[in-house]
Amino acid sequence: MKLVKTLALGLVLSAATQGVLAHDYEAGPLAIDHPWARATPPGAPVAGGYLTITNTGTEPDRLLGGSSDAAEAVEIHESTITDGVARMRPAEDGIAIAPGETLRLEPGAAHIMFVDPAKPLKDGERFPATLTFEKAGDVAVEFAIVPMGATPEAPQNHEGHGAPVSQ
């Protein structure tokens, strides 16, 4: 019994911690989960940004790009490793998000590219950026910086949860 109680407490605590760390945004039918980036080495000319976008609506939308005071330019890129060769290309027409689908921007795949960051990204800090969608328009978000090599907890599933997590 005691073990069950401890486990339950652990679950509650970990859920609470996750709630504090995660930050979500809504833009019409788009649910944007936990934008994050990794700390960068000094002088790094680029930084990757990652997030999850779910289209809860009935119309397709498209992530086109964005802007940020923290960088010279904000672009959408796709990375692949095929036959042992790493390649990265700008997503010229952005990336579509079909109704009911979730777009995951994550290391090793499509990502937001911050070109020429004004200063190195530091673990624990946040910086503001605007994401531009074809239909949802401009959405202001904040990117949370995690340590180099780290990956934040997977964004929680909204279904079955109560009110959206406040920032």
Binding site: I81, T82, V85, A86, M148
Partner: protein, 208 residues
């Protein structure tokens, strides 16, 4: 029972051999200059990887293949305009070197930029302060970079983008080279840490 065991071992052996052959031909292993086109030299073994090169470290010193004689080393290609796998590889290697303990001092870890145009010595020197100080970032002229890529049968190419910018395609693997300068295999950043450490210890053990 005994017969069954023999059959089982034989079957698993066959699976291992087929798997190995598939892996060798799938292009996952580096040493394939053109993806998909396996040259006879890569099939016959290690001779294809390792050769003369001369580059400059981020500290400004010249480093050639001859300086590495008798020393195990690992090498990978990348560039700083790479937001993801290049810094992550450097970060992971730093962690692995720390975990290796004294064995790490026997291995020379090398990061060769495929973008010497933008990756100046100053930029590399600043960039490398985030990682294990034993890792050397190397750059050269276009010709020296070509020569180094050739030495490791690595592929890289400059790809022009809109607006006068460009990006680089490059071989992503980490090559393990023993003290004799022979190719020992690759380090996969997605394999379990224990496997990575075992490979690096085996590499360190080749030191004279």
């Amino acid at each position: 029972m005994k017969a069954l065991k023999i059959i089982r071992i034989t079957a698993w052996g066959a699976v291992a051999i087929v798997g190995g052959v598939l892996l060798a031909f799938s292009g996952i292993l580096p040493g394939v200059e053109k993806p998909g086109a396996l040259t006879s030299s890569t099939v016959t073994g290690v001779a294809a990887i390792g050769g003369p090169f001369e580059l400059t470290t981020h500290g400004g010193e010249t480093l050639t293949d001859e300086d590495l004689e008798g020393k195990p080393y690992l090498v990978f290609f990348g560039f700083t305009h790479c937001p993801d796998i290049c810094p992550t590889t450097l970060f992971e290697l730093s962690g692995l070197l720390a975990d290796l303990g004294p064995d790490a001092d026997k291995i020379k870890p090398l990061f060769i930029t495929v973008d010497p145009e933008r990756d100046t010595q100053e930029l590399l020197a600043s960039y490398m302060t985030s990682f294990d100080t034993r890792i050397l970032a190397l750059r050269g002229t276009k010709e020296q970079t070509d020569q180094a890529a050739k030495a490791f049968a690595a592929y890289y190419e400059k790809v022009p983008l809109e607006g006068g910018n460009y990006t680089m395609d490059h071989t992503a693997g980490v090559y393990l080279m023993d003290a004799e300068g022979e190719f020992m295999g690759t380090l996969d950043l997605h394999e379990p840490r224990e496997t990575q450490l075992r490979k690096l210890r085996r590499l360190a053990d080749t030191a004279a």
